[in-house]
Each structure stands twice: as structure tokens, then as C-alpha cells.
Amino acid sequence: MGEFCERDAFFLEAVSSFFNQAFENGKAVATVGQGANGGTAQLQAIVDHSTAVIYVKDVDGKYILVNRLVEKLLRHSRQQIIGKTDFDILPEADARRLRESDEKVLKTGIPLEVKEVVQRPDGLHIYVSVKFPLKDTRGSVYAEAGISTDITDRTHSNECRRHLAAIVDSSEDAIISRDLNGIIMSWNKGAEKIYGYAAEEIIGKPVTVLIPPSREDEDTRFLRKGQPVGQYETIQRRKDGSSVEVAVTVSAIRDEHGKIVGASKIARDITSRKHLELQQKILYELAATVNRAPAMPEIYEAALDAICSSQNTGRASILLCDPGGVTRFKAWRQLSNEYRIAAEKMMEAKYRKCSFDPVYIPDVSTAPWDEPLRALVTREGIRALAALPITYEKRPLGRFTVYYDAPHDFTHEEMFAARIITNQVAFAIERQERTEALRQAVVQMEEFSYSISHDLRAPIRAMQGYAHVLMHDHGAQLDDKAREYIERIIEGSERADRLIRDTLIYTRASMRELQLVPVSLENLATQIAQQLATITPLHPQIRIASPLLPVMGHEPSLMQAISNLLSNAIKFVAPGTTPQIRVRTEPRGDEEVRLWVEDNGIGIKPEYHHRLFGMFERLEAKENYEGTGIGLAIVRKVVERMGGTVGVESNGVSGSKFWIQLPAAATP
């Protein structure tokens, strides 16, 4: 009768003896429930004050006595219950179930403990019921009594306790409780795993066995303040003396009055998390260095540092070779001179055959090596190593080698980090090579264009000059035909010269690094307009719609672009028309400014607009309008180099509106 307390047992006995006595006295059992007798009233009072459900049924299952809780349970008054069976009161299924156990008791004469589940308005209730026979002096059963205790609450809390215990036990975290003196009171499996102590050997010991002396303060801080310290990360001690990094959550354990009686500690092993964080930091820092694009040796050294820390070793080397196998860079960490010389030789010898995959040797004693290498490695005290090739698109660039003084199990994280680091170095080398090649190409291009501007133009100038001289000094002796040919030579050579100059300007604009500064379009446009107005025979009217907004640009490039636009505007007018040009600016959003050059020229049909800014594009025959067809290409190139855009609006009938758009500058 495990569920029963002592009080229940005493009561049960009292009820039993009372009934026996009453029966013996020849009193009709039926009168018990009537309350006529003083003894009966006494019994009724007693059972009514019990916290258990108490009833007596006769052999037919009719209620003889019920207490207050039975009335409550069955939701009938005592008068309604007495003399009735469960079948009269309860749903049939419930009644049958109850009757079954009742009959068992009546038949066997042995008390029975059963758990019964009853639906109550507030939900299912669990009762533990003791049903026992009431026997007369001859030993025959004349009634059955039952005492049922509602154990619903008790059952729930037990269940909760079991669940909690299961959770605590299955947790990977260490869950520990300690009293106010710092004595360990409980210890779960997670704690066993993290610290290495079994529950039996640690419970009862001071919690300080886990804490290095320098950190004892952390543990007791919260108790002094009387409040939880929350979470902190610290280093603690395992049974074997090694350190473990843990994240600890401490909270107070209070008694029912709210007084602190101890502390619970949840500790999580964060060694691997910390390690991962470190790996990430290493990789991030290397990437930052590579991005900064410093001199290559700095990248190599940073990569060597990264490989050492990410692979958990202090010994490493980096050897980089040119395509020909000649060492271009080498650096060593904690390796003897003898080893360096030998390793470098081997690297150069094997360079072309070098593997594209990393080679991990967790234990050199089992490595399939030839003698000189084995002896060299052994002498150096190397017990494990990894060779990490640095390659770019199947091209070997060199390799890292990392060394360990003891056999080493390479972790997934280490291999991953190694791959990223070798890729970073390969990328940096490749980038450096490409940058250098590009720089060389630009230098060559510069030299080429410089020599063109000097050497190619010289013979053209000579042609031009001599044609002029011929015309000037000997023109009178020539006939009209001859003079016309000379004019053609002059025109042709002038045109060739302009072409060369414009091509050079275009090429230069494509390559030059431009420093953008605030430029006053007002000053620039005014200056250019004045120059053009004086040198152009057409006497153009150029109106500047002051004030023009300033832009961010490169002044010489802008001058080039605006002169070209204005020259075009002047040039492409119908014969006999005075060019009328308006220059204005408008803000485009807060960030940009658009400069418009609007003319009264011949216009450009919309279907040709897309060809306008191309190289050597001419939309008009040379005979009508002179030009090289490079002017607008130069405009677009320099504007794009300044981060801007160009465009045109024209219907092909009445004038064109060219624009360039650039970042706005603060008004100076």
C-alpha cells in the first residue's frame, strides 16, 4: 500500500472495527446511513472530515455509507446515493469497472489496492483506492468499504521530477548544484563527460576542485552579492589536470522562504567553439591582409603565421617557386638550418611532380618514405606533418609544410583552414602577377603612343611643310591642276596628323588614372567658349546660362570633353547659318549634375544616336564637315573615366542637345 500514509491506515482500521462492532451489536446495517444512532453520527462526522473519499457498499453494491467527498465526487447528495448502486449513478462503463474490482474484494475477502482514473469537471483525476471487505465475527463478508485518495497532484509532480531528471541526465552540459559551503550536491552525466569525475567520486567534494585557484573568485562572487552572475566564460580544471574552456551559467537555489541555500551551475564545454572562433579570426585577418594588397613578402609572412596558428603548431615553412622551379620566396619557422637546405633542394627537385592535393601524415613513423628523408625528418624531431600545395588553376606555385613534435590527428577544421589559406596565397600571387603584367602593358602602351606622337608625326609634318613651301615658293610656276594636287597633299597630311593626335588622346584617356576634384564648369566653359569664338571663322554665339553647377572631375579631361562638344556644335551647322549654342547645367537628383550643350545645327536622326559616340564614326561625309570621327568617342571615354555618362537628344531636324552627367561637387 505504498500510496497510503500512516493516517490512512489508522483510519481504515477504525472504520473496520466500527462496522464490526455495529454489526455485532445486531444493529441493522441499513440504519447506519440514517444517522439515527449516536455512534453512527460520530462515524459520519469522522469520515466527513477525511481528505479521502470513503464509502461502504453492501454485497450487492448498494451504498451504505458515503462521506462528503463521495457526494462531491459523484455530484449527488447523500440521500440520492444511499441505497443506490454505481449503475444508478455513473455511466455504465465506469460502473462496470468499479463493480469488477468490488466483486474481486467480496469474492476473495482480500483488500485490494487499485488506481482509478475518474473524469472530474476539472479534468482527469487519479485515485489510489483501497477496497477492503467488512467481515462479521464468523468471518463472512457482509460489506465492502473503500477509501480513495486523490493522488493527481502527487502523480504530476513525480512525473515532472522524472522528466527533469531525464533532461538533466541526458544533457551534454554539466549541470551541477552546490550548497552554500561550496560542496557539490549533484552531478549529471554531462559533468562527468566534461570534467572526468564520476558522480560518486565528486559529490560531497568542494566545487573548488574544478576551479583553478586564480579564478575562485568567479564562483563565489554571485553568492556574496546574492544574485546570479548570469553567464561568463572561464577556464576550469578536469580530473586529469587539463584545462577546459567553459561557458558557465550560475543561478541561486532558494528554499521555500526564498533564502539562498546553494547554487546551480550549468557549464558548457566551449573548447571547440573557441577553437572555431580562433580559426575564423585567423582566416579573416589573412583575408584582410590579402585584400590590402601589400608587398608580397608581407602576404607570405601573414599566411605563414595563419597556417601556424590554424594548424596548432609553431613549426612551418613556406616555399614558393617560379614556373621554372626557381625559389622565389621562402620562410621558415623553428626549423634547423640543415633541414632548410635539404627541404629546399627536395622542393626544387620535385617541383614539377608536386601533388595538387594536400598530404597529411599523422605519424611519420608509418610513412612510406625513403631513407634520406626519413632520417632528416627524424633528426629534426618531426613526428607528424602536412604538405599543403599552393596551386592556381593546376599550376603549382609552391607549398606550405607544417610540422608537429608529436603524432597529430588532423581535424576537419584544420584541413578546411589550410585549404582556405593556400587558396588565399595562390590568389594573391596570381593577382600580383596579373597586376604586374597589366602594368607592363600600360607602360609599353605609353611608350608606344609616345613614340607615335613623336616619330610618326614627323614625316607627316614634313609632307605638310614641304607642300606649303612648294605652294608658296613655286606655286606661280605650276598650273592649276598641280596646285590643286598640292592642296590635296596638304589636306591629307593635316588630316593624318589630326587622326594621330586624336587617337593618342583617346588612348591616353583610356589608360590615365584620373584624380577627381571639384571643378567649376562655369570657369571652364567660359574659357573654352572664348577661345573657340576667336579661332572659329563662323563667329559662333555661345551663351553660358550662369551659374553653371560645379562637378567632380579631372579638369584637363573635362576641358577636352567640353571643347569637343562645343567644336562639334559649331561645326555641324547648315551652310550660311551662324552657330548658336547654349550651355547650361541642371541638377539630377542630389548626387549628379548634367551639363547640356544645345545647338541649332543640322541635328542627328534618332536611329543614329547609338553610333554617335563610337570610335571613327562619322555620320556626315568628309566633304561636308571635316573631322576624324574620334571627337565624341573621346568625350565618352573621358566622361566615363570620371564616373559619368553621356547622351544626346535630337530629332534630326532642328539642332542637337548633347549632355554629360557627372557627380555633383559642393558649390565652391
Binding site: 606622337s453 608625326r457 614627323a458 609634318r461 614634313a462 611643310g465 613651301v469 593626335r501
Partner: protein, 142 residues
């Protein structure tokens, strides 16, 4: 008194022809001495070798300097001139085929008086006439 002398440093004989013709047509009354590389310019100005004969090779009142020449180029000559206090008086007109802004700036920073892009123009010739008029007719070591 001898006519003032212009020293022309130019390795392109066509350009020499055009300069000479331009000067003649503008009526510049000056003797034209021609050298074809930078080293010759320095030798001429310091009277080295054959240039020691100042009757044959008088000190010039003006130097017309090409930039792209064999051996020492125009910039080398300009740099060298800065180290020659005795030649401080000598105006230098750069006459080059380079329209490059950086060349123009470099020449100016090295002390060139003017910078003209070939071919020689009327403007250049009139500048020369102007300089011939204002500059001392010749140097000290005549």
C-alpha cells in the same frame, strides 16, 4: 658687331629647314647654328672641342631646343643648364613634337622660357623676334 646667334638643337633636318625658312621669312636678322644632339648643345655652350672657336661658333642669344634627340635629350640639357650659372641669361624655347601636358610642365619646371609644339608657327617666330629684341645680344664670353 656680329648678328645675334640662335642655337638650334634639332636632329630632324626637315624641322631644321622649316625653322630656318620661318626665321628668314619673318626677317629675323640672326645667325642660326645647328647641333643635332644634347651633348653637342653642352659642348657648344661650354666651348668644348671645335666649339672653342667662338668666331666660328659664337655664344647664342637664344636656344631653340628639341626634346627628343639622340644621346642627351632636351630635358637633360635643361637640367644641365640649371647647373651652369654662366648660362643663366640664355632664354630657352622648347620646340617639340610632343603635345603632352606632362612634357610641357616638366619643361617649365626645368626653366624653359616657352614651349611650342611643331610645326613652327607664326606665333613662335614672332615670340623669337620678341626675345631677340629684349634679350642681351649675346653672352659674356663672346
Amino acid at each position: 658687331m656680329n648678328a645675334p646667334v640662335i642655337l638650334l638643337a634639332e636632329d630632324d633636318r626637315n624641322d631644321v629647314f622649316f625653322v630656318r625658312r620661318g626665321l628668314e621669312q619673318a626677317g629675323v636678322r640672326a645667325g642660326l647654328q645647328v647641333v643635332s644632339d644634347g651633348e653637342d648643345v653642352m659642348d657648344y655652350l661650354t666651348g668644348q672641342g671645335i666649339y672653342g672657336d667662338r668666331n666660328q661658333y659664337p655664344m647664342p642669344s637664344l636656344l631653340l631646343l628639341d626634346l627628343k634627340m639622340p644621346l642627351a635629350n632636351g630635358f637633360d640639357v635643361l637640367e644641365w643648364l640649371r647647373t651652369q650659372p654662366a648660362l643663366e641669361y640664355l632664354p630657352v624655347i622648347v620646340l617639340t613634337s610632343s603635345p603632352e601636358e606632362r612634357d610641357r610642365q616638366k619643361a617649365a619646371s626645368l626653366g624653359a622660357t616657352r614651349y611650342f609644339v611643331k610645326p613652327p608657327t607664326l606665333e613662335m617666330i614672332s615670340e623669337i623676334v620678341q626675345l631677340m629684341r629684349t634679350a642681351p645680344t649675346t653672352g659674356n664670353c663672346h
